[in-house]
Subunit: 639 residues, 2 copies
């Protein structure tokens, strides 16, 4: 058998190994540490290395994208040597970042062909006015309008009282040279509608001087703000933090109930506005501008979040027949809502479709591009509510199902949000049933977040710790399984490893909750596909959006039957598609019209009134599914 | 000589008198008291009686309109008997009311042909909505819009955030029947502009149920509010009181200076808004509605008053080149300004022309109808500023001159505003030089208001107490003329007749101030006429507007050279033309467009930059004028 040299970049010298040797084994020979939390089963992707030269054969590339493979990435536990090779071992953090962040960063590129003058609904005009004299006593506002007519070619302009109050001072301070910021968004649809004066500043502006906007995504859990230079289109700062409304309820339903109490509406409005304002302030600090310099905010979020932002009662969202007060929100001004941008700055809330398919989904579809693609695409936003869109450039159908808060870590004994101390990924050794795990923030674990729970459920199923009904096998030869206070449970971490000094366990009740959550989501998109007569296998792409989707391990999600069993290449993580869609709509009037078009094109299917949904849900309450033929790869892996 | 019987309605029996006997003398014979304050000189009009049958000859009908004469009114001191006659002696109050109030009351008739559906910019639609169901989960706002589209035939509607917040509750409270109030003023000029939702109320409204609006005139001195049912067009209540800004300056210039101080803008804004709100509250109380029921306010006032109402700095009005911040004010909402009408109620400030020709004049011209009449008309608004408009349906020119506050009673030793205790009319006996006077409120006199001052100046001139230069003849055989602390003076009331127990005098300095005031106004319209090459005699009508104009005694104003010397019939008092114009514009979209048209048609002539004005002013500083040929009737009366 031929021998080859393998040179690891961290090693002193190459090692010699025969053809067919696993890279993982070669590394051990070379004394190079490669983490293999799943025990070398090719499931965790943590042993990814980069083959910089030479020939290898990949038995499996799960968790790697075609791009990754093209760049030379390979799983050390699944890749064998076939010639002399050189291998780079990325630091653990770099792999994690690569897997979770790189794709998101790539999405923040300025859209190709973006032209401020052509696409932006906020336009700036620097004008020189003829000063008034005894021969020309025209009033200030008419004088400015005349100059704006010449500069913009439009005839009519609207102005607020606060701006009128500053008008004379600004014109004189700039010695009759001034820069007007106009919102021309009405121009697209109304020839005679006035353009709105948003700001007037003394003096002239440089052509390429930035003009500031923000894209905002209000998630039930996390709020994200992107600070954007509307002239160049570039994202100049990104900030995110938990939605402070969390203190008044973890999910939308509890927030709606809270908002219905006396003063609750105003309190929740204040909390989310406070969250956004602090994020804006932090972003502005980085770029050294004032929040007041921001003249436009484009906002996405689910329907409840948008109602609560605007202080509009959301009660009807929660009760049958589940209607919103408003889906297509007109433009307001910063001052109307209390946003700490320019008081006259436009606040544009993107349109939603229904009570449980909101602007976050319209924005998500926009940023996914599925509405403009002939491929049949399934778009999923997995969270407390699983929103699903199926379709293509031809048609779009959508539904939402209440998955419950299990994926957010709630309703689970040791569940928690994806914050420091959360176990976000787990691997279970098939022989010893011993787990290993990764904790957010590299601290002692405090609990399990959504991705950790999915990961744990899949591992326990694949290693036979639980059966397809979710029942824990208490007769296994390991102290990890036992009867606890709440019935059978699996010990993920012993007390001495944990922050609180108590065992972190995963109980039968937790498993039931997760099964219901995943069954709801799976049932959602199967009913959607059935409803339009499209077999699930015909889906050419599965796009996973939402900030939670960013952290899901696809193969584990497939293994528990949350996602459909399809080749890896068809899955694509899009990160926070909501904020990305808001960013696109913020920049480009055409994109903004497209979101409108998407919202009106999406046919909403109400699942709560659909018996097929209940049947599909019941069938999906097993691991991975009652109908095993739907999950051939999972069943093959178990055989 | 033939004898005739004269029967007075208050007398026991007729008296017999020869042909040519004055009615005044016949009355004395019959024992009927007829007041003759001017001593029977035919100047005061106080001896007006009504000849109900029989033949008389009027030597003079000064102070009576052709309508009055047609009704039988005659001056007892100027009318001689030519046959058997019957005479009614109206109570004194009725004469006064007739002379000052009747014409005003007549102006408040609903304009002929007014049709709410056709003319009103506020329209009400009662709609029945299909309730939402699991089969129709349309959002509330779309559901309402669909119904409004069907009801109104328009496609687009705008809505404020506060209304959106109440939307769901209102629709459900009315069990999906609701009444929407829309501002459709944009429909006239913009096909695609949205109609604005002003209010939404649960349930259906009756066709003829009132819909409330107010017409507001903000005078520098007096604020007037008319509460109007927009459906019937009827004025249901009128209230007026002093502008509380008076405490911060009597005239516009001192108010602008005050507004320029720190916080002055906001304070003056608060004062006038407070004045209006109290007037609105008082009017609403009479009709038993809430101020919140008012959905539209149309506001007229001079440019400074409009700026101060809106809190817009007015400094540039005062300083060369005298420009306003804004002449054509866009519509705002009650809440923007702090008006206590419906917070979404439209506030429509009528357009002005220049710093000193404001919306009060545009509104005045509208209500005068001169812009739609072929007759050459001179429109005068006499007050602190004398605004003049000259023209016809063909053309309109306008100017303003600063008369100073003398006509408002300021800058005069015993001057005061036209309030209780003010001497408003004076007659001086040509033989004894003794005055008699009428006091507002039938109390002891405290001073002289503008009309009293004009009256006094005319009487003193006609009776020879002063010469044409305004100098007092101290050598007359009466204790009424004397040298006082401030030079020569005339005693109008002795200390024991007055409220304060001190003589009320009219000094040489007062006379000079009045001469400057009247000269400015006279010079204004003569320069205007000269400027367009029209002789003053060609003027077919002189319309006197403004709340002050209502109380001016025309013949006395002619005698001092304030008004041009023309036949009585050409003069017409229009009362408060500003509030009347606001009322018309409030009711009728076409009238509103016409005000706009008037404001843009009026060519403004700036007098402060015009040498001709200074010359005309100097010539007019005499009684009645340097050029006596301009005042033939006055000179004839003196001969």
């Amino acid at each position: 058998m031929a021998e080859h040299t393998v040179l690891f970049d961290g090693a002193d010298a190459p090692v010699k190994v025969p053809t067919g040797t696993l890279l993982a084994d070669a590394a051990r020979l070379a004394g190079v540490e490669i983490s293999q939390p799943c025990g070398g089963q090719g499931r965790c992707g943590r042993c990814a290395v980069k083959v910089t030269s030479g020939s290898v054969r990949r038995r499996s590339s799960l968790r790697l994208s075609p791009d990754d493979v093209a760049l030379g990435y390979a799983l050390a536990c699944q890749t064998v040597v076939e010639g002399n090779v050189a291998v780079e071992v990325p630091p653990q953090e770099r792999i994690e970042r690569h897997l979770t962040m790189d794709r998101v960063a790539a999405e923040v590129r300025v859209p190709a062909g973006y032209s401020y003058a052509q696409h932006q609904s906020i336009q700036r005009y620097s004008v020189r006015l003829r000063p008034p004299s005894m021969d020309d006593q025209t009033d200030d506002w008419s004088r400015l309008q005349t100059a704006l007519r010449q500069a913009s070619g439009r005839s009519d302009f609207s102005v607020s009282l606060p701006l009128l109050r500053r008008l004379g001072e600004v014109l004189r301070a700039g010695d009759w040279q001034a820069t007007a910021v106009l919102d021309i968004s009405s121009w697209a649809f109304c020839q005679d509608c006035p353009a709105r004066l948003v700001d007037l500043r003394p003096g002239l502006a440089e052509e390429d001087e930035p003009l500031w906007g923000v894209a905002v995504d209000i998630g039930t859990t996390t709020v994200s703000v992107w600070l954007v230079d509307l002239v160049s289109g570039a994202v100049q700062a990104q900030t995110a933090e938990y939605n402070r409304q969390i203190a008044r309820g973890e999910d939308v339903i509890s927030r709606i109930i809270y908002a219905g109490k006396s003063g609750g509406d105003a309190e929740l409005q204040g909390l989310v506005v406070g969250t956004i304002n602090d994020l804006i302030a932090a972003a502005c600090k980085r770029v050294r501008i004032e929040p007041r310099d921001i003249v436009k905010a484009t906002v996405a979020g689910n329907s409840t979040m948008i109602h609560l932002l605007l202080g509009i009662p959301a009660a009807s969202i929660r009760l049958a027949p589940f209607v919103t007060a408003i889906n297509e929100v007109p433009a307001f001004r910063g001052a109307d809502i209390g946003l700490a941008i320019h008081p006259e700055g436009t606040v544009d809330c993107l349109p939603g479709v229904a009570s449980y398919v909101g602007a976050d989904i319209s924005a998500g579809v926009l940023s996914s591009g599925m509405d403009d693609d002939a491929q049949l695409t399934l778009f999923l936003d997995v969270g407390t509510n699983g929103e699903t869109v199926l379709g293509s450039s031809e048609w779009l159908v959508t539904c939402a199902c209440s998955a419950g808060p299990a994926f957010e870590g709630a309703g689970v004994q040791h569940g928690m949000r994806a914050t420091s101390g959360a176990i976000e990924e787990v691997w279970v050794n098939g022989a010893t049933f011993e787990p290993s795990y990764r904790v957010i923030g590299h601290v002692k674990p405090r609990g399990l977040c959504g991705s950790g729970l999915i990961s744990l459920l899949a591992e326990l199923f694949l290693t036979g710790v639980i059966d397809k009904g979710g029942n824990i096998h208490l007769d296994l030869p390991t102290p990890r399984v036992r009867s606890g206070e709440h019935g059978p449970e699996y010990v993920v971490a012993w007390a001495d490893e944990t922050e609180r000094g108590e065992d972190i366990v995963f109980t039968h009740v937790d498993i039931d909750n997760l099964l219901r959550a995943k069954a709801a989501i799976y049932a959602g998109f199967t009913v959607l596909a059935d409803g339009v007569g499209v077999p699930l296998e015909a889906v050419e792409r599965v796009l996973i959006g939402g900030s939670f989707g960013k952290y899901i391990n696809v193969e584990k999600a497939v293994q528990i039957g949350l996602l459909p069993d399809m080749p890896w290449e068809r899955f694509q993580f899009l990160g926070n598609t909501s904020v990305l869609g808001a960013y696109r709509a913020l920049l480009d009037r055409d994109a903004r019209s497209r979101v409108q078009d998407i919202a009106s094109r999406m046919t909403y299917i109400e699942l709560s009134a659909d018996n097929r949904f209940y049947e599909a849900f019941t069938s999906a309450l097993f691991l991975p599914h009652t109908d095993e033929s739907r999950f051939p790869s999972v069943m093959a892996g178990m055989a």
